[in-house]
Amino acid sequence: MVNQRVKPILVAFTLFLGLFAFGTKASAAEPNYVISTDATYAPFDFQDKNNEYVGIDQDILKEVAKRNHFTYTLKPMSFNAAAQMVANGQADGIIAGMAITDERKQVYDVSDSYYKTGVAWITKKGSKIKSLSELKGKTVALKSGTAASNYGLSLQKKYGFKVKYFNDTDTMYNDVVNGNSAATFEDMPVIQYAIKNGLDLEVKNPNNPGNAGGYGFFVKKGQNPQLIADFNKTLKEMKADGSYQKIVDKYLKSDQKNFTGSSADNNSTWGILRSNKKAFFDGLVQTIELTVAGIILASLWGMVLGLMGVAKSKFLRGLSTTIIYAFRGLPLMVLAFFIYIGLPGVIGTKIPAFTAGLLTLILNEGAYTGAFVRGGFEAVDRGQMEAARSLGLPYGKAMSKVVVPQGLKIMVPSFVNQFIITLKDTSILSAIGILELTQTGTLIVARNSQGFRVWAIIGLIYMIVITLLTWFSNWLKKRLD
């Protein structure tokens, strides 16, 4: 009988260890590079209508890999996270329309420039703002970590505008289109491409971009010199043999519908659903996988924390309180970044995004679960425990036969609540590039600029899943009674 009680705890810990084991396996050395990229940076990096990652960067990278006989695993995510992944060794290189700057040369080794760029300042189309000085007191949207945002920031003092940060380009554009921000700074080729594709913005300085420079391919300083050498050699060859120009023309000259899909597909909710049904479905599956695994493991971990929280040992109680305090206090996204981007640099192994995301959910949701599990057990009258112990039942049996069943009943509504929160919290994991529903939506909007329709669809899918989850929880509740 004792075994039966301990079993779930053992299972939980085994799974925990298993997660770390996964992380170790992925580090096995192969002639395979991990390359991170920005998921939403057309025409350099974006998803096409078939949900494949394409763009000038991607085509060049593909060619470099082919000609130098290496393979690579692509990690598309927000630019800031993608750059940090290289800086701390989680990825071998980054190609993401990343401008070559002196600051970046301190941290990275960089290839020759493969595309000329400079910073544009942009307002809504038809805006009356004509000079930077008219931005005084107004809000300017910036994308965190980019060279364009640093350029914008360097002008802030002089022109006295306020700054608001975004993680992806498309959300930043839309903030200007919607009038929430008065202007934005972005790389010239990127914004020109977006405007060409129908975005309601206009460039104010088309002929004199700020900080003119070039894009490069980056690796961590002192690491992977071969990769940089390969890139530079192939880039030269490609410029000579015309394949470079072909790639640029493919994205800048040809009909954009090749990438974004037909307007019939993009201008109706039904069209968007139909043309992206595989992406939506895959995103949904990933969200459900994260949610189910997260709910089960976080509940088990929460039970362990809760039981520790009412244990007789002062040490265990203190440990439980500390763990709950720490992980409840950490914002989910910070925890996800810490595990995915921060931890690997210290422990020396890469952690796959799904594992990192799941671990984040377990630790965060588990802490909340632990808190209400402890509360539930404490809400069971002390006399119940005393009566059980007085009959000679050992602590473990008294807990499992008397206190736990009564406590669980008290906790049922909290569990249902936590399940729903867990489902919603999986959306935050889009930040580390997990291709769940929210990240799927981000990528589709980045391509077709149909924010309203896409987010309405994504929202509806969440609501359907939450409804199903609520039904399931209520069914479970009835079974428990």
Binding site: Q384, A387, S390, L391, G392
Partner: protein, 249 residues
């Protein structure tokens, strides 16, 4: 004279404090087999704490507590084994809310491997008959009145077939008309020769059933003796004051 009676409970110079509150001061007491000891005294006098120490629900700060020959003031003693032999009845019944009446009684014997489920069910029903609640076996405990709950609690304790029964103000939470039923069950138990230690405010019951009455006040045993000695010829001044107050009411 017959052979010397067996000592069931041996307490020597026990002290217990909660912070600055010195609840028990140098208490010593022996209880013999088949003896019924009733402990009386004002609230906060330490009698409940003392009782709870006899099955280690409270641990003394110093002194010796031996029950059935086991030193239970030693944390290394396997208290679970000792507790199997000590029944405890609480003021607030503490029936397990997640079980039926019969399951409350059978849980411990089955879980501790004392009986099979069938044996425990049979024994449980016998005990329910003894306390006059045969018809309640499959009822939820929350459907019972206070008096019924306390009789189930007594049956639950008896199911482990204990040598000693401890009662912590078993009738204090009951409506007056329920008290009689519970006391009747306890009287029968005393007649059957059970060793009983009872904390109560029921003076009539004490007079009738007790072999010995012990008066607690300010964490000390101020006086002890037969019911006649304690109730009819109290020597201690505080006992006299206490009795005059209780008897008035």
């Amino acid at each position: 004279m017959s052979e010397e009676k067996q000592v069931k409970v041996h307490v020597d110079k026990v002290n217990k404090s909660y912070g600055d509150n010195h609840v028990l001061r140098d208490i010593s007491l022996d209880v013999m087999a088949n003896e019924v000891v009733v402990m009386i005294g004002p609230s906060g006098s330490g009698k409940s704490t003392f009782l709870r120490m006899l099955n280690q629900l409270e641990m003394p700060n110093s002194g010796l507590v031996e029950v059935d020959g086991y030193d239970i003031s030693d944390p290394k003693t396997d208290i679970n084994k000792v507790r199997e032999n000590i029944g405890m009845v609480f003021q607030n019944f503490n029936l397990f809310n997640n079980y039926t009446v019969l399951q409350n009684i059978t849980l411990a014997p089955v879980q501790l491997g004392k009986m099979t489920k069938e044996e425990a069910d049979k024994r449980g029903k016998e005990l329910l008959a003894t306390v006059g609640l045969s018809d309640k076996a499959d009822k939820s405990v929350n459907s019972l009145s206070g008096g019924q709950k306390q009789r189930v609690a007594i049956a639950r304790a008896l199911a482990m077939d204990p040598d000693i029964m401890l009662f912590d103000e078993p009738t204090s939470a009951l409506d007056p008309e329920m008290v009689g039923d519970v006391l009747d069950v306890m009287k029968d138990l005393a007649k059957s020769g059970m060793t009983m230690i009872i904390v109560t405010h029921e003076m009539g019951f004490a007079k009738q059933v007790a072999d010995r009455v012990v008066f607690f006040e300010s964490g000390k045993i101020q006086e002890s003796g037969t019911p006649e000695e304690v109730f009819n010829a109290p020597k201690n001044e505080r006992l006299q004051t206490f009795l005059s107050k209780v008897m008035q009411a």
